[in-house]
């Protein structure tokens, strides 16, 4: 973890509510796709944890959905403004555990971290199949971005207004030997049921600090208690203890 000042390079809407923000600054604390940063915002007490979509040595890209005060404040920010961020948070995805054919499953605001992951998997010579799930056509984003990387991309919409009608689990490909998922908890649960292989899933929880100090985001796993912000947000399918 590192505390950094990031400069906003751009901040543009991708859909009616999802924004893409490019930030420049020290990214040396990041080591894996699927990690997150924690942003301090004026007048709001807690930092806002946002997953990293992509990063390189010059900066990071984040995508965020406007859902409350914090994200509304972010959406109003202009290039040139700065943000106080804690960087390099969370464990991130481990691509080493994946075979030659990776399946990536993203739902809504769970899509962003899969982008950097997809890049890393492709760079390592693996084949990548991506299934993105959204509620409706207007909410679809990053389909072409994944395609441009060289992945095989399928989109599913719950209302059938675009791509396959249904959930990501209705659009699973025939062959893959490992999966990575990020999305709302009901989707993650359905993904675990529908997939026949091992995989890694990224979880969300309301956080206090985001770096393991407060124990606010703990969960029980089959391998012990874990902090979503520190030993997570990525858990392996086999260790997850589903509630109810």
């Amino acid at each position: 973890m590192k505390q950094c000042i990031y400069h906003i390079e751009s901040n543009e809407p991708l859909t009616g509510t999802v924004y893409q923000m490019r930030l420049s600054g020290d990214t040396s604390a990041f080591s894996k796709p699927g990690q997150f940063l924690n942003i301090a915002l004026d007048g709001l007490f807690l930092r806002r944890p946002i997953s990293v979509c992509d990063y390189d040595e010059r900066g990071v890209t984040i995508l965020y959905k406007v859902v409350g005060k914090g994200t509304a404040q972010m959406a109003a920010m202009q290039p040139g403004q700065t943000l106080d961020v804690l960087t390099g948070l969370g464990n991130g995805y481990e691509i080493e555990k994946c075979g030659t054919h990776a399946l990536l499953l993203g739902g809504g605001v769970g899509v962003p971290p899969l982008y950097g992951l997809c890049k890393a998997l492709l760079n390592s010579g693996r084949q990548v199949c991506v299934v993105l799930g959204f509620n409706t056509k207007d909410e679809v984003f990053y389909e072409n971005a994944f395609r441009a990387l060289g992945a095989d991309v399928t989109v599913a919409t719950a209302d059938g207004s675009y791509g396959v009608k249904g959930f990501v689990t209705d659009a699973l490909p025939q062959s893959y030997d490992y999966f990575f998922a990020c999305g709302p908890e009901p989707m993650l649960k359905a993904v675990c049921k529908a997939t026949g292989t091992s995989g890694q899933l990224s979880f969300e929880e309301r956080m206090g600090c985001g770096f393991g100090a407060c124990m606010g985001c703990s969960c029980k796993t089959l391998t012990g208690y874990k902090r979503i912000c520190k030993e997570g947000p990525v858990l392996e399918k086999e260790e997850i203890r589903w509630e109810s």
Partner: protein, 303 residues
């Protein structure tokens, strides 16, 4: 003796800054960020006789100038703390540490404290009496002078280390509780623990916190903390450790003027992991601004 030094129950501190229990773990997360030996000491994660997962999530709610937590004393239990956490801590922290202890019956407290009494690195026992008493209808030990005093007597019987009692602010008469603890043999008082608070999610119409209510902390509670530190420090003859919403060197000085011998910093560690380090570095400049040559001189200095 440096101008930041204070003496807390017979142990010299390089400065009065103490990260509060539950916001600093067992120190490792922070030791990766900075050399935590710059601290006066720190109060480690509230430890109980048995391991605890704590409450269901969500455990955190945001508030104006503060937050609510209902972690529920997640900790590995005192045996694990002694077997695993303290040996690791020794490697990164070379000062006496404050052991924060919680319990749900008097014997819990006594057993946990007795085990920690053998640990050379433990300098003080900070006994959190805000926990529900399972033999007392679930009411907190800390809201009743007799129950609080009973905990203090049980703990004092099993340890020679200084015992600091951490008080709940959710009471009518904080002075009565503090005096009862002093009379029962407490070596110090720390306060305030969190205020009981609640937030409701307008979308779901449910409490934000799974446990409904939780402990409210952060800069919002500072005026209540200053008041209680003032009241207690002027009523007892043992040192008081002040805490509650402290977020700057100025706040530290205000707490010490009110009567605090040392000052715990809690919630701010979660927002700015460097908060304690920055405050320690900032203190000499702010002291100069207010013509303070030694922090020890201003304890209870309010006129």
């Amino acid at each position: 003796m440096g101008k930041l030094n204070v003496n807390l129950c017979g142990i010299e501190l390089d400065n009065p800054i103490i990260p509060a229990s539950g916001t600093f773990g067992f120190g490792y997360e922070f030791a990766e960020l900075y050399d935590i030996n710059c601290l006066g000491t720190f109060s480690f994660k509230g430890t109980t006789r048995q391991p605890r997962f704590g409450n269901p999530t969500p455990r955190i709610a945001e508030c104006t100038a503060g937050m609510i937590n209902a972690v529920g004393l997640q900790n590995p239990g005192v045996e694990q703390v002694i077997a695993q956490e303290l040996p690791k801590l020794q490697k990164v922290f070379h000062k006496p540490v404050m052991a924060n202890v919680s319990g749900f019956c008097v014997s819990d407290y006594a057993e946990t404290c007795a085990m920690l009494d053998n640990q050379p690195q433990v300098g003080w026992l900070e006994v959190n009496v805000s926990c529900p008493n399972v033999h007392g209808g679930g009411m907190s030990f800390g809201v009743d002078p007799d129950a609080a005093a009973e905990v203090v007597r049980a703990v004092k019987a099993v340890t020679t280390k200084p015992v600091i009692v951490k008080l709940s602010p959710n009471v009518t008469d904080i002075v009565a509780i503090a005096k009862a603890c002093e009379d029962a043999g407490a070596d110090g008082i720390s306060l305030i623990n969190t205020l009981l608070g609640m937030r409701i999610d307008l979308r779901t119409r449910k409490p934000v916190i799974a446990n409904k209510m939780g402990g409210f902390s952060g800069p919002a509670v500072f005026p209540v903390a200053v008041r209680m530190v003032y009241q207690v420090a002027h009523a007892v003859n043992i040192p008081v450790v002040g805490m509650g919403g402290v977020s700057s060197a100025q706040d530290v000085i205000e707490m010490m003027l009110a009567g605090a011998t040392a000052v715990e910093i809690g919630t701010m560690n979660l927002i700015d992991p460097f908060a304690c380090k920055k405050i320690i570095e900032d203190l000499p400049r702010v002291m100069e601004q207010y013509n303070i040559s030694s922090l020890a001189d201003i304890i209870k200095g309010v006129g």
